[in-house]
């Protein structure tokens, strides 16, 4: 299955990425590329990656998730990964992949709430920062 078949939707300020089937390594890298391009083109502030249908996350896919989170963060977008299955979580831990630096949520609803809170937080901090630099 090609990465082009992984839909990326923009809803509000969020990019919704839903990986619905096992994809090969090349498609994983293409997906990463497309997400970053979409952040730039749509000016999205958040990325939500739903992997509830993935029956396996190995070190390659795990690395892709970490990389997207780091790269998106440099582009000023927050990432949350939702729907990791219990069996997949146990296997990831045993494999030694803790996906440090990747925010997670139980499902799309929770993921959206976390992203919204994160955004509100960021804007408030910036507003405070702007005040600090305001002319005396």
């Amino acid at each position: 299955m090609s990465a082009l078949k992984v839909p990326i939707l923009k809803v509000g300020e969020v990019l919704l990425v839903s990986i619905q089937a096992d994809i090969d390594d090349r498609a994983v890298l293409e997906l990463q590329q497309r997400v970053l391009e979409q952040i730039e083109q749509t000016n999205a502030r958040s990325v939500l990656i739903d992997i509830s249908l993935l029956e396996m996350v190995d070190s390659f896919t795990g690395r892709m998730l970490s990389d997207i989170a780091s790269m998106a963060s440099i582009m000023d977008a927050a990432t949350v990964v939702v729907g990791i299955q219990p069996a997949v979580a146990i296997t990831l831990v045993e494999l030694g992949l803790e996906l440090k630096g990747v925010s997670t949520a139980l499902d799309v609803d929770d993921g959206l709430r976390i992203l919204r809170e994160r955004l509100k937080d960021k804007r408030r901090k910036r507003a405070v920062g702007a005040d600090e630099h305001a002319p005396a």
Binding site: D24, D25, M56, D58, S59, Q85, A87, T91, E94, G96
Partner: protein, 137 residues
């Protein structure tokens, strides 16, 4: 172990799509043998790591998925064989975080933690054979 073993499957690995095929074959075999959900994911993940190693280091190779029986237990055995450059220092390769490629260095040591038996035979210039077994509880 002289009994005839049923339903072994061999998959030639030469491109990225083949890694996906190996994952699907292992998943199917593990589910049919009655492995728990978690054990199925462990097997598929280990197979994915080790098949990717074939692609990364040798380019091509063979994966064989075979149900086995030994002293009253049943299990699933998977062989990963290539004629690639081989591994000079197997102990080093089994260390967490050690990698000579773009990987995260979790492939070999991580896979070993996911299965019950893990054997690796490698000769520089000749190739590598990794054998893993997971037993049904």
């Amino acid at each position: 172990m002289s009994m005839p073993q049923p339903e072994a499957s061999r998959i030639e690995v030469s491109d990225n799509e083949d890694v996906v095929r190996v994952r699907a074959a292992v998943k199917e075999a593990a589910a049919r043998m009655g492995f728990s959900k978690v054990d199925q994911v462990r097997l598929v993940t280990a197979a994915s790591e080790l098949t990717r190693n074939i692609r990364l280091y040798a380019g091509r190779g063979t994966v064989e998925v075979r149900p086995v029986r030994s002293s009253g237990r049943s299990g699933l055995r998977i062989n990963f064989e290539d004629s690639g450059p081989g591994i000079a220092d197997v102990d080093m390769a089994m260390t967490d975080g050690y990698t000579t490629s773009r990987g995260m260095g979790k492939g070999l040591p991580g896979s070993r933690r996911l299965v019950d038996d893990f054997r690796i035979e490698s000769e520089v210039g000749k190739g590598t054979l990794v054998t893993i077994i997971k037993w049904l509880h």
